[in-house]
């Protein structure tokens, strides 16, 4: 019997080697270890053995069984591993094929930049205030120290609805409305559409956007205006950006300034983009004219303030290197899809 057992173990191990599928392995297990299997058949003959031989053969039989079981288990694992390897191999993808197109809407570049500017100002404690685009002459001009026939009106070619109603040429009108209705301290920006009768070309549009800011409180100084604008520009363009203030004239501010930003292209050395100046004109600003304050019911002896106006188109075009303003209003998907 001993030989028979050893033969079985031998045979089982040999046959196991030949098996390469889980199913065939199971068949083999039944063949050797099953109820009708070869090992069972031998064990059934144990009764014929002498009492001395029985425990020895029994022990041997158990060892053979567990050896075969172990061999099957090992074999199974290696078959499974091989199958897994095979599947993984078969499932290999060309990862360089294009990804599926998932649609997401793109914000209009003007609003993308406006959003950033608004975030900066909200962080600095500015409320966002809106106002009418079709506006009275009073709010658009007269309250801003530009009575009828004031020569500065010439610089803002105006669309008229009638003698007293215009399309606002600046969002400063919103500032006047705010000053009339709100007690200082005031800290607002008023973004929105403004209108000037400029013929459409690469740098002009009869409709464009402004973001005007206004701060009124006790003790507001021109150095505060400078600090605020510097902070804004650093947030928008990075810490290394530099601005300069240049004296200018606006009827509603005194002193008035135009603010230039150092040319990104040449870093202030002068190039074709900045017309050799090293700086590019960015916005207008100044201390709110005492007359404007007084007319809004704010005592200029107690309060002071500053105001500034940024052209959204200008900073958007600068930001994305857009060279033609018409693209912003044409709304061609091939353009919009880039932002």
């Amino acid at each position: 019997m001993r030989e028979a057992l050893e033969k079985i173990e031998q045979a089982a191990k040999e046959q196991l080697e030949m098996v390469s599928e889980a199913k065939a392995l199971e068949e083999l297990r039944v063949k050797f270890l099953g109820k009708k299997g070869e090992l069972t058949a031998i064990l059934k003959q144990m009764g014929k053995l002498s009492p001395e031989e029985r425990p020895v053969i029994g022990q041997l039989a158990n060892k053979v069984r567990s050896d075969i079981e172990q061999a099957i288990a090992q074999r199974l694992e290696s078959i499974n591993n091989a199958e897994k390897e095979k599947r993984l191999k078969e499932e290999t993808l060309d990862v360089t094929l294009p990804g599926k197109k998932i649609k997401i809407g793109k914000p209009h570049p003007l609003n993308k930049v406006l959003n950033e500017v608004e975030e900066v100002f909200i962080g600095m404690g500015f409320d966002i205030v809106e106002g009418p685009e079709v506006e009275t002459d009073h709010y658009c001009f007269e309250a801003l120290n530009m009575p009828k026939h004031h020569p500065a009106r010439d610089t803002q070619d105006t669309f008229y609805i009638n003698e007293n109603v215009v399309l606002r040429t600046q969002t400063s009108s919103v500032q006047i409305r705010t000053m009339e209705n709100t007690k200082p301290p005031i800290r607002i920006i008023s973004p929105g559409r403004v209108y000037r009768s400029d013929t459409v070309d690469a740098t002009h549009s009869p409709l464009f956007h402004q973001i005007e800011g206004l701060v009124i409180d006790k003790g507001i100084t021109m150095s505060d205006l400078k600090g605020t604008l510097e902070l804004l520009m650093k947030r928008l363009y990075g810490e290394e950006c530099k601005i300069r203030l240049r004296p200018h004239h606006f009827p509603y501010t005194e002193p008035s300034a135009e603010v230039d930003i150092m040319c990104f292209n040449c870093g202030g050395k002068g190039c074709s983009m900045c017309k050799q100046e090293g700086y590019v004109e960015l916005l207008g600003a100044g201390m709110v004219h005492p007359k404007v304050l007084r007319d809004c019911g704010i005592d200029p002896e107690i309060y002071s303030g500053f105001a500034f106006g940024i052209g959204l188109e200008r900073i958007t075009m600068g930001r994305f290197n857009i060279n033609d303003m018409r693209l912003l209003y044409e709304n061609d998907l091939r353009f919009l899809g880039q932002f």
């Binding site: 003007l110 020569p151 600090g227 005492p290 091939r334």
Partner: protein, 800 residues
């Protein structure tokens, strides 16, 4: 304002400052330089030469061969086609390798076999005209006259004075005094801190009483505060000397003759316009400054007949207007070659009046652009004195010693309190008072008794802030420190702003691209979107002076703006697009001056993946996100409350309703509208009324506990008339199932062979769940029975 640097040098010496630095510094102190140009910059290697001999060309009957002395060892040979050359003349010679304006390069070569080592130049070839050198001819070589430096070999730019630098300034409307050479010299004086050499002009004059020659009367002293006149007898009309012509040219003014040039010269130098009349044509020798009569006519110097109206101020003689005050003189009374007696006018007219008149007549002149900003009448005398001085300097006539001065002006100076502490507090600076005084005095202000007294020419000084600006700009804006605003401020977006941001963000997340369109449209767009003629949307705010019809009214509907963009994209062959715009409409309100400007959401899409239900799903997702619930979407009709209904396919258009109020419209555009826009593909569009939706929405989200007990799902298929809206079935099921309903979802709509025609089969999956315990089958069966009963009442029956 163009400034001649040569002219500036009369008053201040800035010759050692490189022009680039000059421009930068004067810009930073407040006079902005737009650009600067060196005259004749394109001209090189052109010199003065003398024609030694001129002989005929052997192979040509129109060419001549010249030997020219250009100051070198040997004369050079040049062939020219000009017929005005003779030996002994001095001429500009472009040498081999020279350059001329317009990028022209001159090289030696052979003309009909004869060597030519350069070119003799005409005025035009040097970029000049006969106005610059009246003795030269237009079609021929420029024969240099006595007013040129005739040193042989001399660079032509220096020889003829084509070597000025012109600086173009952008002068703001508050500083008309800077529209002059002297005004800019004063600014340079303050900027560069070097001496200014301006003397009051004087003239000698000849004896005579001007009042015996002419008279002046001002009828409207409000519009003409001062009128001064001087008379010049025995005048000799001729071209001005070179230095005057040269300076006028540098400032962009065409030289005409000595008297006209003097008036322009004075205007450019002092910033005060002048005029000259021929006394012969001033009838009655009397000048009357009066308002025009309605319909009165005058032919101005530019040869155009103008019809005047009564608010315009004119200079008239006894019978008729001879000039439009402050704008332009009359042709009839202007200076002519045979003029013998000239009247100089130096007058100060009201700015607003000149501005209105110039605008109404459509003629903005150098004079009107100065007057309209406001000149001080106290500056008028020096203009007249300067003109008389120039006449004597040029020997152009005899100036009568006495002159007329009709003066109604205020002689007081503008004064403002001087408060150095206030200025420092206002600017955020720490400038010593002594420095402030220094800055102000450099700008001709006087500090007396705690007051700043402005010079007459500074018409812009009114308040302390004006003084602060003067101090700040000379101190240097960029020397002001940068500080952060003191105090705490809290800021947040308004509910409306938050809501609109949520709309934008949701639409972007839904794969729809944002657009921005003009707020003005063409009235024709209403026809393009099929609006009936009596639609109230056709009542729009009209622009009185539009750029064109396409942008002539403020939109009362955002829809056509969207259609334009869709059409443009279709035309650009963009295969499929989805767009939205959050923008305003402008709706006139009865009895109000200003229109309402409600915000609207427009959505538009076309392309293979889009259909009505895609659009509807997009809108539903949006409404869910922004917190609008319990609304209905029903088939729209002409009375649905939204006028754009007519732009849509009548069978594929729905209205969004809540509490009986229309909140929006969506659907497929009408084929006629697509045709109007030349779009050959179905287009889906929607318009939502944002403020109306805000009012009925709630952004509050409340957490609902996650279900603890299992749900039971039952499917139901029913057959009903095809006209029965699915929404009514859904509603009936919801109501019948009641509290335990979790969801009812449509999963199939079928029409076809297995269904009777005119009917449709609709299948729903109904999910029920209780939060109190596990639902029993019995409870679910009961609920389904009720649901079936409810839909049977609508005429539907269980599908067999």
């Amino acid at each position: 304002m163009n400034l001649s640097m040569k002219w500036l040098a009369d008053y201040i010496d800035c010759s050692d400052i490189p022009v680039k630095n000059f421009c930068y510094d004067i810009t930073m102190s407040g006079s902005k330089v737009e650009r600067y140009d060196a005259e004749g910059a394109e001209i090189s290697k052109v010199v003065v030469g003398k024609l030694l001999s001129v002989v005929a060309h052997e192979n040509s009957d129109h060419l001549v061969v010249c030997m020219v002395d250009v100051g070198e060892d040997k004369p050079i040979q040049i062939v020219t086609g000009a017929s005005n050359v003779e030996a002994g003349q001095y001429v500009p010679v472009a040498l081999d390798g020279s350059t001329l304006p317009g990028g022209v390069k001159i090289k030696k070569g052979k003309l009909r076999g004869v060597e030519s080592n350069g070119m003799l130049c005409s005025l035009g070839e040097l970029g000049l005209t006969v106005h610059d050198f009246p003795y030269a001819i237009e079609n021929g070589i420029f024969i240099l006259g006595d007013d040129c430096d005739l040193t042989l070999g001399k660079d032509i730019k220096e020889a003829i004075g084509l070597n000025d630098i012109t600086v173009e300034f952008e002068i703001t409307s508050n500083r008309p005094d800077c529209m002059s050479v002297i005004g800019l010299a004063r600014e340079a004086h303050a900027t560069f801190n070097r001496p200014l050499n301006v003397k009051a002009p004087e003239f000698t004059g000849t004896d005579g009483d001007i009042n015996k020659i002419m008279s002046v009367r001002i009828d409207n002293p409000k519009l003409c505060q001062r009128y001064m006149a001087a008379v010049v007898k025995n005048v000799k009309i001729e071209p001005s000397p070179r230095w005057i012509r040269e300076r006028l040219r540098a400032c962009g003014v065409r030289p005409i003759n000595n008297f006209v040039d003097i008036t322009n010269y004075v205007m450019l130098e002092y910033g005060h316009p002048m005029h000259a009349f021929d006394l012969r044509y001033v009838n009655g020798s009397s000048i009357i400054v009066r308002n025009a009569k309605n319909g009165e006519k005058i032919t101005t110097l530019d040869g155009i007949e103008r019809t005047l109206s009564e608010e315009m101020l004119v200079i008239a003689d006894a019978d008729k207007p001879v000039a439009v005050a402050g704008v332009m003189g009359g042709e009839y009374s202007g200076i002519m070659d045979d003029t013998t007696t000239v009247v100089f006018e130096a007058a100060c007219f009201d700015g607003a009046s000149v501005r209105t008149t110039a605008k109404k007549l459509g003629m903005r002149t150098d004079a009107s652009s100065r007057y309209e900003k406001g000149l001080d009448p106290n500056c008028t005398p020096e203009a007249l004195m300067r003109a008389c001085q120039l006449v004597e300097q040029l020997g152009a006539g005899e100036v009568i010693k006495t002159y007329i001065d009709c003066d109604h002006c205020d002689k007081s100076h503008r004064e403002v309190e001087f408060d150095s502490k206030w200025i420092n507090d206002f600017l955020g600076t720490d400038i010593p008072e002594a420095d402030m005084i220094k800055y102000l005095e450099s700008l001709d202000f006087k500090i007396e008794n705690g007051k700043v007294i402005a010079p007459y020419f500074r018409i812009d000084i009114e308040c302390k802030a004006d003084i602060a600006e003067e101090v700040a700009r000379i101190y240097g804006y960029n020397n002001i420190p940068s500080t952060i605003i003191k105090g705490i401020a809290k800021a947040q977006r308004t509910p409306k702003q938050k809501f609109e941001r949520e709309i934008t963000n949701t639409m972007l997340a839904l794969g729809v691209n944002e657009i921005t369109t003009y707020s003005f449209i063409s009235p024709k767009y209403f026809d393009k979107i099929n609006l009936p003629n009596d639609s109230k949307l056709r009542n729009a705010v009209k622009i009185k002076n539009p750029l064109g019809e396409d942008t002539s009214i403020m939109r009362t509907s955002i829809l056509p703006s969207m259609c334009e963009v869709l059409a443009r994209n279709y035309n650009y062959r963009n295969q499929s697009v989805a767009f939205f715009e959050l923008g305003n409409e402008y709706l006139p309100v009865e009895g109000e001056i200003l229109p309402a400007e409600p915000s609207r959401l427009a959505v538009g899409m076309y392309g293979n993946e889009y259909d009505f239900y895609y659009l509807k799903g997009t809108i539903e997702e949006l409404l869910d996100r922004i917190g609008l619930s319990d609304y209905d979407i029903e088939a729209a009709n002409a009375d649905c409350g939204i006028d754009e209904f007519f732009a849509f396919h009548p069978g594929r258009c729905a209205v969004i309703l809540k509490n009986g109020k229309a909140l929006g419209i969506l659907g497929e555009l009408h084929p006629d509208v697509l045709k109007n826009y030349d779009i050959g593909i179905r287009v889906y569009a929607a318009k939502l009324l944002v403020p109306e939706i805000i009012e009925l929405s709630s952004s509050e989200k409340v957490y609902k506990p996650l279900p603890k007990y299992p749900a039971i799902t039952r499917d139901i298929s029913v057959v009903c008339d095809e006209s029965l809206p699915a929404a009514s079935l859904e509603k009936a099921i919801s109501k019948a199932v009641g509290k335990i309903l979790e969801s009812v979802t449509l999963f199939d709509v079928y029409q076809g062979k297995q269904i009777e025609s005119g009917k449709k089969s609709v299948s729903y999956s109904i999910v029920m769940r209780s939060h109190e315990g596990t639902l029993t089958d019995e409870q679910a069966d009961n609920a389904m029975k009720k649901a079936l009963k409810a839909i049977t009442e609508l005429g539907a029956e269980l599908r067999a």
